[in-house]
Symmetry: C2
């Protein structure tokens, strides 16, 4: 991959990267199309498929995370992607557990990663920034595309790019949703029929907040949070992990919610943890 | 600098980087020559001069670290360097103290950086890996040259390059010494006449260890350390910070010292902290 990227760069071809964990859905494909649009017909689009172990806690779903490489490759071929990069754990993290010879270098972000996903999933973002830095060094993209569905992740990667001077332009592409409003996610596969229906509660909570802000222009975050909690609690198998209202640039929580404020929430539906977010 | 590097890469020119903190001496110039040798006459050599604040503790000598850009530029011009890169703090660490908008991303190495310089200077290596990652992303070198005088630093940077997949070849160039054996260092400037004479004690300690290993083939690290301490203590203004005997690849301390073992020590001479190391 590094040799190929070097060859492309020498030929003056722009490179677009879409990092994924595979088990692709329409959301991923929209990122690949956004990358193609950016680099043009003569540019190169690389999609990486790698279920990155360092961003999962030992208690999380790393081993059962859905995988279907054959189907993924077919979808990406149809999508006109040039290269699908599928590294192995042993290549990405040589001897990770061996001290002192094994993998021991991490990229960490210390401000934006503290709350929300960072609070619920300690070490998650350190895994994300580390693997994305690695992918940037391997693929050397001019442009990399991330989904707005992982809003905090996109903000942290933009911060990393600014702070560490990666010469990469970050594009954040809109969340793609199912017909009933559920944000597309590979983890939706975990939801059987009844839970799948219950999962629309994230979207309903966002719609409620949006309507409330539209109606009263300004409304206290505490009141909105209580209302979100009520909606989530009304669904039998749903449990609120967090809901936050915050400045979309700094991720600092606001006490008064008005138009332009970002809302994000994480909800367990059965055992499956789902996230969603939107600008109000 | 990034625009220039991109132009060079498209033209197929190899880039060599020598990161320095300026106040250059023959040691630095030997690194620049090693870079030139690697990239060839048609390649490009960049020397960065930047006294990196994040690798100094608040109690250390950041503000009084010697600086003489005019003289440095003259030396580098004579040396045939293509570009001297001299960024400002405000460019390298935008709003470093501002939370949450300021600089907040660091590169950390967690194994090799724990002992010796890492133990004596907490956060030092996190500053080093962070600024070197930044310089790599700004200059995009094919080759970067570091001095063996900072042995642990070179090992950590090699680890970072391996772990984060930087497409950069690291060259470690031999320590350059004054006629009396003192390793060249910008901090030698701090030493007035009498202290400058006392500073040769680091070299004498190394010579003693080397002779002892040559004589007995195998000798206990504890015994050697005690002998080093005696030598240092015999000098009125010298105080031993640490001396270690270790595997040069893993930096793991050995209990029995034989040929091929690396020795490193740090000594305060007056208020000036000096380091040196050598393969025995």
């Amino acid at each position: 991959m590094q040799r190929l990227a070097k060859k492309w760069r020498r030929a003056g071809e722009d490179i677009g990267l879409v990092p994924t964990m595979g088990y692709l859905h329409e959301g991923h494909l929209s990122l690949a199309r956004a990358a193609r649009k950016r680099v043009g017909k003569r540019g190169r689009v690389v999609v990486s498929i790698y279920v990155n172990p360092t961003q999962f806690a030992p208690t999380e779903d790393f081993s059962k995370y859905p995988r279907d490489l054959k189907r993924d490759l077919k979808l990406l071929r149809e999508c006109g992607v040039d290269v699908v990069f599928t590294p192995k754990d042993a290549e990405m993290y040589p001897d990770r557990s061996a001290v002192p010879t094994g993998f021991s270098t991490y990229v960490i972000e210390e401000n934006l990663s503290q709350r929300m996903e960072g609070a619920s999933r300690p070490a998650h973002f350190r895994g994300v920034t580390t693997v994305v830095a690695k992918l940037f060094n391997i693929v050397r993209p001019d442009v990399a595309v991330f989904g707005q569905k992982d809003f905090q992740q996109a903000a942290i990667i933009q911060r990393m790019v600014r702070d560490l001077d990666f010469p990469v332009r970050i594009i954040v592409a809109p969340t793609v949703r199912e017909a009933d409003g559920l944000a597309m996610s590979s983890r939706n596969k975990y939801l059987e029929d009844d839970l799948r229906r219950q999962a629309t509660v994230l979207r309903r909570a966002i719609d409620m907040a949006r309507a409330a802000v539209k109606k009263s222009r300004k409304i206290s975050a505490a009141e909105l949070k209580a209302n979100v909690e009520k909606i989530i609690e009304s669904v039998p198998d749903a449990r609120l992990d967090y809901v936050e209202f915050f400045d979309p640039e700094t991720l600092v929580p606001v006490t008064e919610v008005s138009g332009g404020v970002q809302m994000a929430l994480a909800v367990f539906v059965g055992k499956t943890r789902l996230i969603d977010n939107e600008r109000l």
